[in-house]
Symmetry: C2
DNA sequence: TACCTGTGTTCACTATAGTGAACACGAGAA
DNA sequence: TTCTCGTGTTCACTATAGTGAACACAGGTA
């Protein structure tokens, strides 16, 4: 939705109501908002208050944010990427990094495979606020440091942490380590 | 926040404004909402319209939903789970499933390791609407079917799909397959 | 001590949200 | 053809959002 105007939520409310086969009368009963008001809102004739929209969301049993963000039609995804299509990020002396997730997932949910050589370190700068990383140790042992917290995790282990602070993955052993990494961003819907 | 009352957003707006060291005057200029109104909103003396809160969110450069959901203080996570602490889900003749993510991540982001025997199938019922699965094939080859779409994915490959329809992972080969699986749910904030 | 400034609050007003009631319209039945 | 019913829209009203201006208060300075 455009960022130049407040969200037009009338159409969204109408769509959700229709999807649930509800009349204005029924939604009025469920939500505590008058039928007249609902009609005006759906026609974008008025600019309702937060409390009113919250009541409608409750009546529809949906999240307030589902109404506000515009109720975009979700198309079900199906996307597969072969091994030879993944992107490889290598730096001299650094770990071997394969990007598995497609470009359209960037800054939403990113998936990587990392291979850390014996006695190597991968240090990253803080990501966007609220971003989280989830690591599965496939082989070897790694030590993860995020801020003042750290843990050594062996094969078959799992670690998750906020990565909006400087964070480091180290392989202090004499064997290579392989790690599956997922990075999840807090989404911004309209900035 | 309580689901019995509309969201009290005044305190949230005030906190964000203070965090950014802004005065009411400054926010009024940036947002186009009067200082008087801002004061009333922050004091929970009025129930602002959606458009007004949207203007404030823009002025603060935050998501509308950040204000509405209550601006909870985020504590940075750090959680590690050793291999011997993961939960194993096995059924007779079924795949070997290890749950890596901790219980508190249930229905948010769930992480699994799957091992499918030669010529075996894992069929799942539809999950909650909007839920997505992300598979990394660590070894072997699997065929993923979601609704009418399918793909055979070899070692090192990746596949993602909506799993709010019946979906199946098959290993039609004579070798075992190992798959890393992430399940991401669309969050409900207050239902 | 008095004055000034910055910041937040309240007043008195206008504009608009929100409602109960009445109206408009289309479809189906008699 | 007329009537009835269900559903959505609009009217005329009250309640409240939203504002410019004035006020209140605290801290700093002369």
């Amino acid at each position: 939705m455009s960022t130049d105007n407040p969200p037009l939520i009338g159409a969204t409310i109408k769509k959700i109501r229709k999807d649930q086969s509800l009349t204005l009368d029924t939604l009025a009963e469920r939500s505590g908002v008058s039928k007249a008001m609902l009609s005006q809102i759906e026609s974008e004739k008025v600019n309702p208050t937060i409390a009113t929209v919250w009541k409608i969301a409750r009546g529809l049993e949906v999240e307030l944010n589902d109404i506000i963000k515009g109720g975009k039609e979700r198309v079900r995804k199906f996307r597969s990427i072969n091994a030879d299509e993944t992107t490889v990020l290598d730096t001299a002396g650094g770990p071997h990094i394969e990007v598995l997730s497609p470009i359209e997932m960037a800054e939403d949910l990113e998936v990587y495979l990392l291979e850390l050589s014996p006695n190597s370190v991968l240090t990253s700068q803080p990501h966007a606020p609220g971003t989280e990383e989830y690591l599965t140790v496939l082989s070897g042992t790694v030590t993860v440091i995020a801020g003042e917290k750290s843990a050594a995790v062996e094969q078959g282990g799992f670690v998750m942490y906020n990565c909006d602070i400087t964070h480091t993955i180290r392989n202090d052993t004499a064997a290579a380590a392989r790690v599956h990494m997922v990075v999840r961003f807090l989404k911004k819907n309209w900035v």
